[in-house]
């Protein structure tokens, strides 16, 4: 058994192998499909509130450290933002005798953005620096807000090469939003009762 505590260091070895074999992108999609087991239904039914529910559990179980008590995973009904944390996963791999895979961080937008697309949300994911354990994941219900956020981020000095998004999937996102609207309305009514 690889202890669950050490999974991310095994993951790091997998990424090194896949990078040598030009196979990272395809693998991210496999992990995304696996993660649907945890996220797809929750995000589909509850939207942003479901995301908050999911990441609150992750923050506790993965021992995510908040940089400031005032900042957490910031959400309102239209967006979720998580740029105020120290990533425990990269932190462990910066403390890894096998050395960190320089593309380690890419797996996060790689698996999570396809799930946002499937559940009708826009994501602007800024990795900031591949060797610093802080990134910024921002999810929006409204396309214009996501686009504006991305432009502001770049204007503020962010490296466009480290920003991943699904803004080019607007048609698919809008279609999924329409498809999921009755389910979300049903869920909201259930919550009110």
């Amino acid at each position: 058994m690889i202890p669950s505590d050490h999974f991310v260091r095994f993951y790091n070895e997998v990424f090194k192998f896949l990078d040598r074999n030009d196979g990272l992108e395809k693998y991210y999609l496999e992990i995304s499909r696996h993660q649907e087991h945890h996220c797809l239904d929750l995000f589909s039914r509850k939207g942003i509130a479901g995301m908050r529910e999911y990441w609150n559990v992750i923050a506790r179980e993965e021992n995510i450290i908040s940089k400031s008590k005032k900042k957490g995973i910031v959400t309102n009904t239209k967006m979720i933002s998580s740029d105020s944390h120290i990533c425990p996963s990269l932190t462990k791999n910066l403390d890894n005798d096998a050395g960190v895979c320089e593309k380690y961080c890419l797996h996060c937008p790689g698996w999570v953005i396809p799930i946002f697309t499937k559940t009708g949300f826009y994501c602007v994911y800024d990795l900031i620096n591949l060797l610093e354990p802080t990134c910024s994941m921002n999810v929006f219900a409204i396309r214009e807000e996501a686009e504006e956020f991305k432009q502001q981020r770049i204007a503020g000095g962010a490296d466009p090469a480290l920003i991943y998004d699904n803004l080019d999937k607007a048609d698919e996102i809008e279609a999924n939003k329409i498809r999921l609207a009755p389910l979300r309305a049903q869920e909201a009514a259930k919550a009110e009762n």
Binding site: M1, P3, S4, F10, Y11, I31, H34, I58, N63, D97
Partner: protein, 147 residues
């Protein structure tokens, strides 16, 4: 002393991602590639265990086995002799969690044990083996090679 101190909350769902990854690598790149990644993990990630074994010191290996199987809530028995370490795991915590999540257990699941252990022992005076008794039940053996 353990190189990687882990005392915080456990995120057992990582066993699910490991399981998916084992199948993915084996299906797309072959079982030998999977074994090679797992052995690298044993040798390089657990470099301090490996280097100590190479120097004839099994103390960190023992601490590692004991702490992480205890921490994951396994029922196990660790038997230590000067030239042999045996760990009998009666219910693998990884397999138990996969079942709890309703995920099928990869047919390569036990390689994560046998190959990581082999990597830890690579080019040392120790060798490892894993005897699978039944699903989730195995005996892991580390034995000093005869000179």
């Amino acid at each position: 002393m353990l190189r990687y101190q882990e005392n915080n909350q456990l995120h057992r769902d990582f066993h699910g991602t490991t399981n998916t990854t084992l199948d993915y690598i084996a299906d797309n790149y072959g079982v030998d590639a999977l074994k090679s990644i797992l052995q690298d993990t044993g040798e390089k990630v657990y470099k301090s265990i490996h280097d100590k074994l190479a120097a004839g010191d099994a103390s960190e290996l023992l601490e590692h086995l004991n702490w992480f199987y205890f921490r994951e809530g396994a029922k196990y028995q660790l038997t230590v002799e000067p030239d042999e370490i045996k760990l009998e795991v009666f219910e693998c915590p990884a397999i138990r969690h996969l079942k709890k999540m309703g995920l099928p257990v990869s047919k390569h699941a036990c390689l994560q044990t046998s190959e990581v252990n082999a990597g830890m022992c690579k080019n040392t005076q120790w060798e490892s083996s894993v005897e699978v008794i039944g699903e989730g039940h195995c005996i892991q053996t580390f034995r000093k090679k005869e000179c």
